[in-house]
């Protein structure tokens, strides 16, 4: 709530490719009140201290997924991380880990978007239906099977958290695997077999070493580790079924 203004030190890892050979830390003193988010602190810097500081943001309410960054080494949405939690010692803000820095706090989203596009993230109907036939029936219980995995806001915090993705960027990664599961688990969808080719590949579910930090940092309560686990199980069953099903081994 509003109170007398205090001053907090925000250190920002800057990288301006046209002038910096490598990222450099820059420190700003920012007046703040207890209701202010880290994002509002950065906006203050941009408005009044240094107009060149660059970062992405829009909705301010943790739903657009733009403003992910490392705050004192942890992946966070800056709009719902509050300056008061870092007072009086101050805080340091870096671009999201494991992703190439394009400039200042902006990372490349290319890998994430390419992977998202590759997994057929849309309903492949089990039974096609015309508009005249109305909606597919889906009970609340059936909806619950995939609902949490549909809540991913694509903020990529889980990619910054995932040690496996840090080591090997060809790993599909938590958010996209959770999205794949979201469609596979939807009662309307029949595309699982098509998607499993990707899911069961080395870069898919099995690339995960079950650290679980992805689920911990998710700002929306999505549990990618759980999605991955369920699919490892399914994948293992699928693998062994091949040997006991007549003709299965040739598949």
């Amino acid at each position: 709530m509003a109170d007398t203004e205090k001053i907090i030190e925000i250190q920002v890892l800057r990288y301006r490719p046209e002038q910096d050979k490598e990222p450099v830390l820059q420190s700003f003193k920012v007046p703040f009140t207890d209701d202010m988010s880290v994002l509002q602190g950065l906006q203050y810097i941009k408005d009044f201290l240094d107009g060149t500081l660059s970062f992405r943001w829009s909705c301010r309410m943790a739903i657009c997924g733009s403003c992910g960054m490392m705050v004192d080494g942890k992946p966070k949405l800056s709009c719902k991380t509050f300056l008061r939690e870092y007072y009086p010692q101050g805080l340091r803000v870096d671009a999201l880990a494991h992703l190439p820095i394009e400039r200042d706090l902006m990372v490349s989203v290319e890998d994430f978007v390419t992977k998202l596009e590759s997994i057929k993230p849309y309903i492949i109907p089990k039974e096609p239906r015309t508009l005249e036939q109305g909606e597919y029936l889906q009970t609340p219980q059936q909806r619950d099977m995939y609902e949490q995995f549909s809540s991913c806001i694509n903020c990529m915090l889980c990619y910054a958290a995932c040690p496996q993705y840090g080591l090997n960027p060809s790993f599909t990664g938590p958010g996209i695997l959770a999205l794949m599961h979201r469609y596979n688990a939807d009662s309307r969808d029949g595309g699982q077999a098509e998607r499993n080719e990707l899911g069961y590949a080395d870069e898919g579910y099995w690339g995960c070493t079950a650290v679980g930090y992805c689920s911990e940092v998710c700002p929306k309560g999505v549990d990618p580790a759980n999605a991955i686990n369920q699919n490892k199980m399914a994948s293992a069953i699928n693998y062994f079924t091949r040997f006991i099903t007549p003709g299965g081994a040739e598949k």
Binding site: M1, E18, G51, R56, S58, C59, P121, G134, I153, Y183
Partner: protein, 598 residues
């Protein structure tokens, strides 16, 4: 300069732009589509819509009910033929979204569920918990990936329209990552750039909601219609303006003043009853609820909070389990941003600017007066909102008219070819020089944030919930002054790679022009209607003089020229706009007179 040749270019990849892109792709897969967005599509502001999308669904509902709610809710400033089309096509678009995977909340029998919303006679709001816009946006974005003819230009900023031979033939866009320009030639262009809420200080809108498409169309001679009608949403977070969805009240939330009294009953919305009743009390329309807040404030019956006057949104009686199921995001916002557990403590709320009812003049098929240019969604004024939009009509608008825009633009694109590419190239070069002029200026002195804050404060002062000629005049003068000072804008960032300050600078130009249109449209409307309420001798609706759309035309450096256009009335004659028990009586009287269409 790179050149990309498209058949249809779409600016904005929120709900409207994505729906339009899919419609073009389905109309003719051979048409090449350029989908241009200054942010990744899933960042678009559709994402923040919470409560739901209206479509007649229940057997006790009817298209006439939805029509009457919308037209009466808009204080009869709606294009009635367009509203008819809208209500007829709403349901099939909801089903289409369902087929594409939208996680609509369900009833036990597996059918989509509907919830009550303000100003709606029957429950007809489809919802996905309280993240309906988020789910619709992601569903549309992910579905759009199926269509290879959609070429996305993510993080490309549109800086101008190309108008040659009397029609729109493309756009100029800046690749944000490099600062390089791309000319996107197109036989038809659809603007789907969203509203302009950021011209105001306390608002629910994301930072990207800066009126881009409105300003671009306006500069090219297309009028902006009914821009004085800005919607104040009655339940926003103090200071930040973040939104607490109307679904809070749809689910049974109450509004209380400092005495714990349901004050809405004093403003023609009562009587107060224990159970929520459609079009009564908390389920009244947004303009009336925001106005009631203002009156309570005048009477000293609001609560003094750290950020000014507030009232309480009381959700406690709904219980934690129900709130977590139906309003999970609201729960999260209250807990994380305000440190309040809404199951145990009422949430302080205040009205905030939420929605731009007016926009780019479009006919019922989304076409503007400039051939080849279409618009959809909040940037557009296709005519369904009138002087006050009903909650849950705007998400439906995106998909109903997104499809129309796509189909119409595809048809137009197939009927023409690009004329005179050389002239278009020259135009693009001139537009590039203008855009670079914003950043390359060396002698600027005006700090951007100062201009922006002065604009937002002045708009709030002059174009608030209640308006006076004198304060509106002061805002006119201020915005005129700011447009002059803007020419002297000082930017520190001279780089090319992700120069966000430069883009903010261009956006500020858009904002100022739209702000000017809003306030000049407002001061010229000498009556009170819907969200435009005056206290200086024009307190009543004046159908003789002002059952008219205002149309603002660009005049360059000066103030806009305001003209008026007719309102299309088909089957609902303007009547008394009333809610609560008075509304029931007014409906009965209209029915007896045969003035309604029921």
């Amino acid at each position: 300069m790179e050149v990309f040749k498209a058949d249809v270019a779409i600016v904005g990849a929120g709900g409207g732009g994505l729906r339009a892109a899919i419609a073009v792709a389905e109309a003719d897969p051979t048409l090449k589509i350029a989908l241009i967005s200054k942010v990744l599509p899933m960042r678009s502001h559709t994402v923040a819509a919470e409560g739901g999308a209206a479509a007649v669904t229940r057997p006790d509902d009817s298209l006439d009910h939805h029509f009457n709610d919308t037209v009466g809710g808009g204080d009869w400033l709606c294009e009635q033929d367009v509203v008819e089309y809208f209500v007829e096509h709403a349901h099939e678009e909801m089903v289409q979204m369902e087929h594409w995977g939208c996680p609509w909340s369900r009833k036990e029998d597996g059918h989509a569920n509907v919830r009550p919303f303000g100003g709606m006679k029957i429950e007809r709001t489809w919802f996905a918990a309280d993240k309906t816009g988020f789910h619709m946006l992601h569903t549309l974005f992910q579905t759009s990936i199926k269509y290879p003819s959609i070429k996305r230009f993510d993080e490309y900023f549109c800086s101008d329209l190309m108008v040659e031979d009397g029609r729109c033939q493309g756009v100029l866009a800046i690749e944000i990552a490099t600062g390089e320009f791309t000319l996107i030639q197109a036989k038809a262009v659809i603007l789907a750039t969203g509203g302009a809420g950021r011209v105001f200080r306390e608002n629910t809108n994301g930072g990207i909601v800066t009126g881009d498409g409105m300003a671009l169309a306006y500069r090219h001679g297309v009028p902006l219609r009914d821009m004085e009608f800005m919607q104040y949403h009655p339940t926003c977070m103090p200071r930040t303006g973040l939104l607490f969805t109307e679904a809070c009240r749809g689910e049974g939330g109450l509004l209380l003043n400092k005495d714990g009294y349901r004050y809405l009953q004093d403003y023609g919305l009562g009587p107060a009853e224990d159970k929520p009743r459609n079009k009564f009390m908390e389920l009244g329309p947004r303009d009336r609820l925001s106005q009631a807040f203002w009156h309570e404030q005048q009477k000293g019956r609001t609560i003094q909070g750290p950020f000014g006057s507030v009232v309480n949104l009381d959700l406690r009686h709904l219980g934690e389990a129900y709130l977590r199921e139906r309003l999970p995001q609201i729960y999260e916002l209250a807990e994380e941003f305000m440190g309040i557990d809404p199951a145990h403590t009422p949430v302080p709320v205040v009205p905030g600017v939420h929605y731009t009812m007016g926009g780019i003049l479009a006919d019922g098929k989304t076409a503007s007066s400039l051939p080849g240019l279409y618009s959809v969604g909040e940037c557009s004024s296709v005519g369904i909102h009138g002087a006050n939009r009903l909650g849950s009509n705007s998400l439906t608008e995106l998909i109903v008219f997104g499809k129309v825009a796509g189909v119409e633009a595809a048809k137009f694109a197939k009927s023409v070819s690009i004329s005179n590419p050389g002239a278009i190239q020259k135009q693009a070069e001139a537009a590039q020089a203008r855009a670079l002029g914003v950043v390359n200026k060396s002698n600027g002195t005006e700090r951007m944030a100062v201009l922006r804050n002065e604009m937002a404060q002045s708009m709030e002062d002059g174009c608030g919930i209640y308006r006076l000629g004198t304060t509106m005049q002061a805002t006119c003068d201020k915005i005129d002054e700011l447009r002059q000072r803007y020419k002297n804008l000082k930017l520190e960032d001279k780089s090319k790679v992700y120069n966000t300050e430069w883009l903010l600078g261009i956006e500020l130009g858009y904002l100022l022009e739209v702000a000017q249109v809003i306030v000049y449209s407002a001061i010229n409307r000498k009556e009170s209607r819907g969200s435009h309420q005056r206290l200086d001798g024009f307190e009543e609706r004046d159908d003789v003089k002002y059952l008219k759309h205002s149309l603002a035309y660009y005049t360059g450096d000066g103030a806009p020229r305001i003209e008026y256009g007719d309102v299309k009335i088909t089957k609902s004659k303007p009547g008394t706009r009333a809610y609560g028990a008075a509304g029931v009586k007014a409906d009965a009287d209209r029915h007896a007179e045969g003035a309604d269409n029921g």
